[in-house]
């Protein structure tokens, strides 16, 4: 009987002697939370080595951007890290404003900060609750999602869309924040701290959760820096680098907040850093909200800078005023020449330093645009992070790094 089996199955040479198992994690595995492939070499349950394959949702954004006027590139940036689109949008607007030397009014900066910090909370919320899901705790995820929903409602009130927001314009916002928007922000500030506290009570000192996260997926500060880590993942390793403080943009220098850091760079530290950043973001939103409320009279109506070449005029003006009609036409058709220049601008996005390297040769579209995508840069450390780890810990590491396929592939 045994002989016949041997006759039928022809195993590849060396496969019996081989002591390890190769498994494919992804590209569409539920645990990868995005389209990416990991080829893991396992010895029992331990990861011996791994190789990453990415590019499954590559959409050639850098090439596309070479044929679009500046304002049409904003929707492209939406699709980088789609868990916090407004941060990408703002980063892009700020890059354009740097190239065009546009000064934005303080009120615009503060409104932007409200939106950016809300986006940061939405992103960290997803990441941390997904870490909890991967550790086996589904409850927290379902509970906090209500508040991401509220954040999305705020976006909707400000710009009309929820996930791929295309929020704001070069120079400011498309319209002033409505009263409903402010009410919703107030509601968020009032209710969210309680929920976040509850989530923390459920997770942070939970024995099972701590045992799963502590000591897994750790990285030293030197290696993290060498790997180009930024954002919460770098801060978890103990380096207090935050673009908001190092190179303040959008008036972050007017705000008082702390940068939380960890020391081991493991999954638990990453979780904790993100938790604390949400508290800091809440405090920033509170401060920004107070500052915005302090504007009175005509100052409270300012929501964009005066840049007719790039900022779409009001529709009523387009129908009644000659200049507005001309600007409208020129902007929509992309007929404005961008000044020649080369600029690098970066912001602290939810995953780290999101950079835009923009070269303009004086034409109507960028000559070259490159996105520095934090996800893409730190994912290459995944092999090193998971070497010798258990398969289940490797999954946790993947979710606590917060890999977003859109940002990975651009």
């Amino acid at each position: 009987m045994l002989e016949t089996v041997h006759n039928h199955i022809s195993l590849p040479e060396g496969s019996i002697e081989k002591q390890t198992t190769t498994i494919n994690l992804g590209p569409t595995h539920p645990a990868t939370h995005g389209v990416m492939q990991n080829i893991l070499e396992l010895d029992g349950e331990r990861v011996v080595s791994s190789e990453q394959t990415i590019g499954y949702i590559h959409r050639a954004f850098e090439k596309l951007a070479e044929r679009r006027p500046l304002y049409q590139i904003t929707p492209i940036t939406d699709r980088l890290n789609y868990c916090s689109s407004p941060l990408n949008n703002m980063g892009w607007h700020l890059t354009c404003e740097k190239l065009l030397k546009i000064e934005t009014p303080k009120r615009v900066d503060y409104l932007r900060i409200i939106i950016m910090e809300l986006a940061r909370i939405a992103d960290h919320l997803i990441c941390n609750s997904i870490v909890a899901v991967d550790a086996g705790a589904f409850t927290g995820f379902v509970y906090v999602m209500q508040y991401r929903e509220l954040i999305y409602e705020i976006y909707e009130e400000v710009c009309g869309s929820r996930l791929t927001t295309n929020i704001g314009r070069i120079g400011g916002f498309e319209r002033n924040f409505s009263n409903t928007a402010f009410e919703k922000i107030e509601k968020f500030l009032r209710e969210y701290p309680k929920v976040l506290k509850e989530f923390e009570t459920l997770m942070t000192r939970n024995r099972i959760f701590m045992d799963r996260l502590q000591g897994t997926g750790g990285i030293s500060a030197e290696r993290a820096l060498n790997y180009g880590f930024t954002g919460p993942n770098l801060r978890a390793a103990g380096v207090d680098y935050d673009v908001r403080v190092q190179n303040p943009y959008s008036s972050y220098q007017d705000f008082d907040f702390k940068i939380p850091i960890g020391n081991t760079g493991d999954n638990y530290d990453r979780f904790q850093v993100r938790e604390e950043e949400m508290w800091q973001s809440l405090s920033i939103i509170n401060q920004a909200y107070q500052k915005v409320q302090a504007f009175k009279g005509a100052d409270a109506e300012i929501f964009h800078a005066n840049v007719p070449e790039y900022y779409l005029p009001k529709k009523e003006d387009v129908y009644t005023k000659m200049e507005a009609l001309i600007w409208h036409f020129k902007i929509i058709m992309g007929e404005t020449d961008i000044p020649k220049g080369e600029v690098y601008h970066s912001i602290e996005a939810a995953n780290g330093e999101l950079g835009f390297y923009l070269i303009s040769d004086g034409g109507r579209t960028p000559f070259r645009l490159h996105f520095r995508r934090p996800c893409f840069i730190y994912y290459q450390a995944y092999s090193e992070l998971t070497k010798g780890a258990m398969l289940s810990d490797a999954i946790m590491t993947m979710s606590s790094l917060n890999l977003i396929a859109g940002e990975l592939d651009a």
Binding site: Q246, R368, R372
Partner: protein, 172 residues
């Protein structure tokens, strides 16, 4: 001592003489270029020098300038000294027929994928790279899509019926 663009420039000129050229400060960011054979020496010097310490590679990418004969491809490094919080931009140029450039992976682990991406899109061959293969595009691809000779689709083309997308097509 506060590190400024002038000091960095001075130090580089002291070390490399007239090999480093094109100093400029667009939007306050010091940028310069060097011959491509020197790229590792410059990066190493910026990394090791006690005052400079540019030990964080923020970004590495390529640019294609089709009209600069003999120096069509540029490799751009953005470096950051996190302690002094100062950045700089360093460029090298190479001819498109011989796009060989030394790899920076020995110095920065992060250069690994960034160089693979640059290879993938511009065809810059990084000598000494441990695993130089395409990263975002398919392995079978036989061209380098971000080079300027590959334009996007011509939006005025008329051989395609694209009426549903508002482009008229053959019927208009």
């Amino acid at each position: 001592m506060i590190l400024t663009n002038e000091i960095i420039q001075q130090k580089l000129i002291e070390k490399f003489g007239d090999q480093v050229t094109g100093f400029d400060e667009p939007y306050g960011l010091l940028s310069f270029e060097a011959p491509k054979e020197l790229n590792l020496k410059v990066l190493q010097f910026l990394y090791d020098d006690a005052d400079l310490q540019f030990q964080f590679l923020t970004d590495l990418t390529g640019v294609h300038y089709p009209h600069q004969i003999g120096r069509e491809l540029a490799v751009v490094y953005h470096l950051h000294n996190l302690k002094a919080n100062i950045r700089l931009r360093f460029k090298i140029y190479t001819a498109i027929e011989t796009p060989e450039v030394f790899t920076a992976t020995q110095l920065f682990s992060t250069a690994n994928w960034m160089e693979r991406e640059t290879f993938d899109f511009f065809g810059v061959k990084f000598i000494g790279h441990p695993n130089l293969k395409r990263i975002l595009n398919v392995d079978e691809m036989d061209y380098f899509p971000l080079r300027k000779e590959y334009p996007l689709e011509d939006q005025t083309r008329i051989d395609k019926d694209d009426e549903m997308f508002g482009r008229g097509g053959t019927n208009s």
